[in-house]
């Protein structure tokens, strides 16, 4: 096994990875920016290296400094976590050139799935259902209009390089299409430096269902069931649960098989997530693949009993998957609430600052993945997520009750959080009944 791993990330995911490494007897190296000197991941790691100034470009995205830190400390592998360099194929290929194992897929696989129109094309070829629309990129507005007429309005105009809702527009008719196409294109150019677009049928009020897969370097691929990530605010996930209330055993098998087939079609390695849209008729469509560990991975861990980070490390080391598909059993129900330092009253404006007092929830079936401690100052430079509160219980109802109880216990003083907002979600009837889709927050809370 690896003797030493460098974690090229910060915050709760860095802490999460360090914990897994420690349990496996692997030494850890934390990297940090100047502003993150007092961070928990720095305190928990065996070694730490400062890699630059607070701005992500100068530190957590600074490939040269991260590679130098790895060589300097003699770490044999890098775990990229999520965000930052986790889906950067250039970084993966540089690691490879330097004899460092990148804990994740190869650069080629990242590239194949990173470009969304390219990924769509690959999936169509593999026979995976995709939302009706263009086969790959759309050449121009004329081409786009033709496709829109074919599949029928409303349509979604999307940027190939897109993410987080940017470079994305809905068009309900021909006239709207023209203006939406142009704005989405220029937005994409600005945000991603790439204005390749594609067009899809707009699936109204779908559920966002994703399947966790694990694939080793020997061609074995399994899925670990789904996560329902439909509770979103402006395309950002807020609360996730597994399993989904609306998915039957039969549908799970069908979607899981499609997910495995998708991963196999690109000879995928390591942990990955296949995202689907599920419409009200029970039809599902591939939307994209995330070639990294996800924020919401703990809910899958809790219902399957499989530690995904440890599996990632073992796969990277070349071990064969010991779990077969038939061994994967889904037990109970898990929910994750993302706790963000933000002010729901002020349009969810980020609320960085110093935590003056902290009381964490606990008890049976409650898990907290977080980097915060009393006295910790949340810097304004990064993502506002400061903790993930995850609960597990026998049934969905019990899990909801447990989450409400845990949120009640959770006290953070010194800054604003979305804890109360999460409670509002949990108390909504539509949520309790499981009758929700991606428009839930907009329609029920606003």
């Amino acid at each position: 096994m690896f003797k030493k791993i460098l974690i090229a990330n910060r915050g709760e995911i860095a802490v999460r990875i360090i914990r897994a490494c420690k349990e496996m007897g692997i030494q850890t190296v934390a990297v940090y920016s100047e502003i993150d000197k007092e961070s928990l991941h720095v305190q928990l790691a065996d070694q730490s290296v400062c890699i630059g100034q607070a701005s992500p470009q100068k530190s957590y995205l600074n490939i040269e400094n991260i590679i130098s830190a790895t060589v300097l400390t003699g770490a044999e592998a890098i775990h990229p976590g999520f965000g930052f360099l986790s889906e950067n194929s250039k970084f993966a290929s540089i690691c490879n050139e330097c004899g460092i194992e990148f804990i994740g897929p190869t650069a080629e696989m990242i590239d194949k799935m990173g470009n969304k129109s390219e990924a769509r094309k690959t999936m169509i070829e593999a026979g995976i259902p995709v939302v009706p629309g263009s086969k790959g990129k759309v050449e121009g507005i004329e081409d786009g209009l033709k496709i829109a007429e074919e599949i029928g309005y409303p349509v979604m105009i999307k940027a190939s390089a897109g993410g987080g809702g940017r470079g994305m527009r809905i068009a309900y008719d021909k006239e709207k299409f023209i203006s939406a196409f142009n704005t989405a294109k220029s937005e994409s150019k600005k945000a991603f430096g790439d204005d390749t677009m594609y067009v899809e049928k707009y699936v109204e009020n779908p559920k966002h269902i994703e399947f966790q897969i694990l694939a080793d370097k020997h061609g074995n691929v399994i899925h670990l069931g789904e996560r329902d990530c439909s509770i979103q605010r402006r395309h950002q996930k807020v609360l996730e649960e597994a399993p989904s209330k609306v998915i039957s055993g039969e549908l799970r098998d069908a979607m899981g098989k499609a997910a495995v087939k998708a991963a196999k079609s690109i000879k995928y390695q390591n942990a990955g997530t296949i995202e689907f849209l599920l419409d009200k008729h029970g039809d599902f469509y591939f939307i994209e693949m995330n070639t990294r560990i996800q924020v919401e991975h703990p809910i899958t861990e809790l219902i399957t009993g499989i530690d995904l980070i440890k599996e990632q490390i073992k796969i990277a080391f070349g071990e064969k998957l010991l779990i077969k598909q038939k061994d994967v059993k889904i037990t109970g129900h898990a929910i994750e609430c993302r706790i963000n330092a933000e002010n729901p009253e002020l349009n969810f404006m980020p609320s960085p600052g110093t935590i003056t007092d902290l009381r964490l929830p606990g008890g049976y079936g409650v898990r907290i993945d977080s980097q915060v401690y009393s006295g910790y100052t949340i810097p304004p430079n990064y993502d506002s997520m400061i903790a993930k509160l995850i609960v597990h219980d026998k049934t969905r109802e019990e899990a909801i009750n447990k989450m409400k109880r845990a949120l009640d216990e959770f006290k953070i003083k010194g800054l604003c959080t979305n804890i109360e907002f999460q409670k509002v979600i949990l108390n909504k009837e539509a949520f309790i009944e499981g009758k929700y889709d991606t428009a839930f927050i907009a329609n029920h809370i606003g």
Binding site: S68, K90, I94, G99, F317, G318
Partner: protein, 270 residues
């Protein structure tokens, strides 16, 4: 079954350091073809081979006077030793390569200086090769394009070097009298006797972004006139602002600009 654990190491050449902005750039991000820093847009110097690659149509270059060799008329100590050493190092016989080529299908005579060879200094061979190239262009009714990169006249050849200034200039005058086009492309660095002769005689004078162009060096001038010189003094951009040159060109666009210019001036003097 498991992977082989290696001691991590950074392979040679993975990072390229830009001497202008000091930034370290990943090899694949670096525009090696044009030798331009993606961070600060510095146009680093190009050798003759790469200059030909980005300028002339593939397979179209026919070299002139490849065997013209330097002799040590003044018995300057160790001059020939230096020349031989540079021949071995660069694969060149002198600081300029001349010949005939096509640029986007337009025929032209071209002369390219290489600063790796005694800082592109102009001795008898450089002057002679350039003069012959100009004369061939005149005779064949072709435009001549000269890429300058030089520290000036070659001190090891004394007065013979200085004479090349007059010789090349005279040839250009005859070319001009014949109604033929001369495009001068100033690249980093263009200084001394080269600036004072053929570099500045172009019908059209282009300069690459950020190139150093001058006669005497900045420090020499400052010490002589006892004044501080303005910022950006002797850069291509400064010269454009002060009317010495016609256009500052990004190297990536240079080939197209050259071919368009040739096309516009086809047929010579009207």
């Amino acid at each position: 079954m498991n992977i082989e654990l290696k001691k991590p190491s950074i392979p040679e050449g993975l990072w390229i350091k830009c001497i202008s902005c000091n930034d370290t750039i990943y090899r694949d991000d670096y525009d090696e073809k044009f030798n331009i820093c993606p961070n600060c847009n510095k146009h680093h110097r190009l050798d003759v081979t790469r200059r030909l690659e980005i300028t002339v149509d593939k397979g179209s270059f026919k070299e002139y006077d490849a065997d013209l060799k330097t002799v040590n008329k003044l018995n300057f100590p160790k001059y020939i030793d230096k020349i031989e050493l540079l021949e071995e190092k660069t694969g060149l016989k002198e600081a300029v390569v001349t010949g005939e080529c096509k640029i986007n299908k337009n025929k032209a005579v071209i002369a390219i200086m290489d600063s790796r060879f005694l800082m592109g200094s102009m001795g008898s061979v450089v002057g002679e090769k350039i003069t012959r190239a100009i004369e061939k262009a005149t005779a064949k009714k072709l435009p001549i394009i000269i890429f300058t990169a030089s520290g000036g006249a070659r001190m090891q050849e004394g007065i013979f070097s200085l004479m090349q200034m007059a010789k090349t200039s005279a040839a250009l005058k005859r070319h001009s009298n014949a109604g033929q086009l001369y495009i001068s492309v100033l690249t980093d660095p263009t200084t001394g006797g080269v600036t004072a002769s053929f570099a500045m005689l172009g019908d059209i004078i282009l300069a690459e972004t950020g190139a150093l162009i001058g006669f005497a060096g900045r420090r020499v001038i400052e010490q002589t006139i006892n004044q501080q010189l303005p910022e950006g003094f002797q850069t291509a951009e400064f010269l454009l602002e002060h009317g010495f040159i016609d256009k500052v060109v990004n190297r990536r666009e240079l080939k197209d600009i050259l071919s368009k210019t040739i096309e516009i001036h086809k047929g010579g003097k009207r």
